[in-house]
């Protein structure tokens, strides 16, 4: 089972997680920029984080045979903090980078005017940089939030076919599917979706344009939930090909809209300037 986790926050996870993910079949992932749990107080805090998503984190992933791309954005929650909003001006130069395959996570948290502005501005950035957008749907007042999100996307210059609506569930999937957006589901131990309900939705709404992610972060989450969904699909009678569509080909198709997704061998890793032998020593120098 080959797995592409289209939404996971690896900088919050351990090296053991990378190893377990590789063993479970994860070969590629996208890490969207998000809230760190602790509020940021300045723009520089975002820049160091973006640099990590473009530098150290892909390196760490490659050490475990996993290809790492990222999505960059001002997240919805911090779009409300005037100390953070000026990062929007810095995004232009970051969105040019090779391993950036989407603008994200953008969207609504509390549905404030500041969030309206940040969402519209960043949908336009996606247009300018020919990138798709990963749009988070709010956890509170979700149904209204999805409706409003779809309205804003429709008012933007970004076609719905280049938008992934994430964190969907039973109450929001129909509206999202009608919108023409790609459909993202986050599978969690306690909240959001679980694998049994996910299989039920796949039966009801089909596998087309559906992406399943672990959205694992610093909270109670599980980076192997993608694998668990694949197993639950097989147990329910879905074919290997259908599992591959949901867990690999759909995320590949969505992020390929960027024109930058690269799942091939990366010459920059170990085979340049002689073979860099991993000596088994921890890189603690």
């Amino acid at each position: 089972m080959r797995i592409f986790d289209p939404h996971i926050h690896m900088s919050s996870r351990t090296t053991d997680d990378y190893r377990a993910m590789r063993d479970a079949g994860v070969r590629a992932l996208v890490e969207p920029a998000f809230w760190l749990g602790q509020p940021r107080t300045n723009v520089g805090s975002f820049l160091d984080y973006f640099d990590a998503l473009l530098g150290w984190e892909p390196y760490r992933a490659a050490e475990h045979g996993i290809t790492h791309h990222c999505a960059l954005a001002l997240n919805p929650k911090e779009a409300n903090d005037p100390r953070c909003v000026p990062v929007l001006a810095e995004l232009d130069r970051y969105l040019r980078k090779d391993s950036v395959v989407a603008v994200g996570e953008i969207g609504y948290d509390s549905m404030t005017p500041a969030e309206d502005e940040a969402l519209a501005a960043q949908l336009q950035l996606a247009v300018d940089h020919e990138l798709p957008a990963l749009v988070h749907t709010p956890h509170r007042d979700k149904v209204a939030g999805v409706t409003r999100t779809v309205d804003v996307v429709r008012e933007s210059a970004l076609p719905t076919e280049r938008v992934l609506l994430d964190h969907l569930n039973e109450t929001t999937v129909a509206a999202a599917k009608d919108s023409g957006c790609w459909l993202g589901f986050s599978v969690y131990p306690d909240t959001k979706m679980d694998e049994t309900r996910m299989v039920r939705l796949l039966r009801e709404y089909g596998t087309e344009k559906v992406l399943v992610n672990s959205a694992a972060d610093w909270g109670n989450s599980d980076p192997l939930k993608t694998r668990r969904v694949g197993e639950a699909m097989l147990a329910d009678g879905f074919s290997d090909d259908e599992v591959d569509l949901v867990l690999w080909r759909n995320p590949v198709a969505f992020y390929s809209l960027s024109g930058r997704l690269d799942l091939g061998e990366r010459p920059e890793r170990d085979d340049y300037a002689g073979n860099v032998l991993r000596r088994g020593a921890p890189a603690d120098s």
């Binding site: 390196y59 980078k97 090779d98 920059e268 340049y272 032998l277 000596r279 890189a283």
Partner: protein, 212 residues
């Protein structure tokens, strides 16, 4: 600005790159190198990978995009402020290209902080690029020895280190000898290339570090 003459190594690199990439990419490269001295070449620097692809060159083994970026930096005769900005705002691949280009640019030791920054990371892509000719020419002896040790600790082969034969001194041999002893005490193997350096010039006791 006079267009800088192409050092032999870069001329060879340019020829290899033009030969290796598709026709369209080669045309883009020739055009962008042609106006690099006076146009917005930095946007070409940013998109180089998407233009020339991710493949490695057949002879030098250098990623094609690294080669394109090094050639661009040289063609633009990038100054200290420019290389510093491109490094600081670059992703890992862009930073690596800046590091590799340093020895071809008209820079004195002022760009050493970029090399120091790269040597503080644990990213071997950057470390390999940092221990080239520029480091051999401009790091002081203490920094240079620690750069060599950094390679040893992160698994970068010592063949990547420029000037190893000429800059290795008694103090570096003492450090490598101590490292080998520490490995042996822990029951771990001593990396082959460390053993080779020590075998060629065994450290003699006692050692008195000498600063250049």
């Amino acid at each position: 600005m006079d267009s800088p003459t192409l050092p032999q190594a870069l001329a060879a690199l340019r020829a290899e790159l033009v030969e290796a990439v598709p026709h369209e990419a080669a045309e883009w490269l020739e055009a962008t190198l042609g106006w690099a001295a006076d146009a917005d070449w930095e946007s070409s620097f940013a998109v180089a990978t998407r233009r020339v692809g991710r493949g490695a060159l057949p002879v030098s083994g250098m990623p094609a995009a690294d080669a394109a970026r090094v050639l661009l930096l040289h063609a633009a005769d990038a100054d200290l402020a420019t290389v510093t900005r491109l490094y600081q705002q670059g992703d890992a691949a862009e930073r690596r290209a800046v590091l590799q280009a340093l020895s071809y640019l008209h820079l004195g030791p002022e760009a050493v902080p970029l090399v120091e920054d790269a040597l503080r990371t644990n990213d071997t892509r950057l470390i390999v690029a940092a221990v080239g000719d520029y480091a051999a020419a401009h790091l002081d002896q203490h920094q240079w020895r620690h750069a060599v040790l950094k390679c040893v600790f992160t698994g970068v082969p010592l063949t990547a280190v420029s000037g190893l034969a000429t800059r290795t001194d008694a103090e570096l041999l003492r450090m490598l000898g101590d490292y080998a002893a520490e490995r042996e005490a822990a029951g771990r193997p001593v990396p082959e290339d460390v053993g080779e350096v020590l075998a060629a010039q065994p450290p003699h006791q006692p050692q008195h570090p000498q600063e250049p």
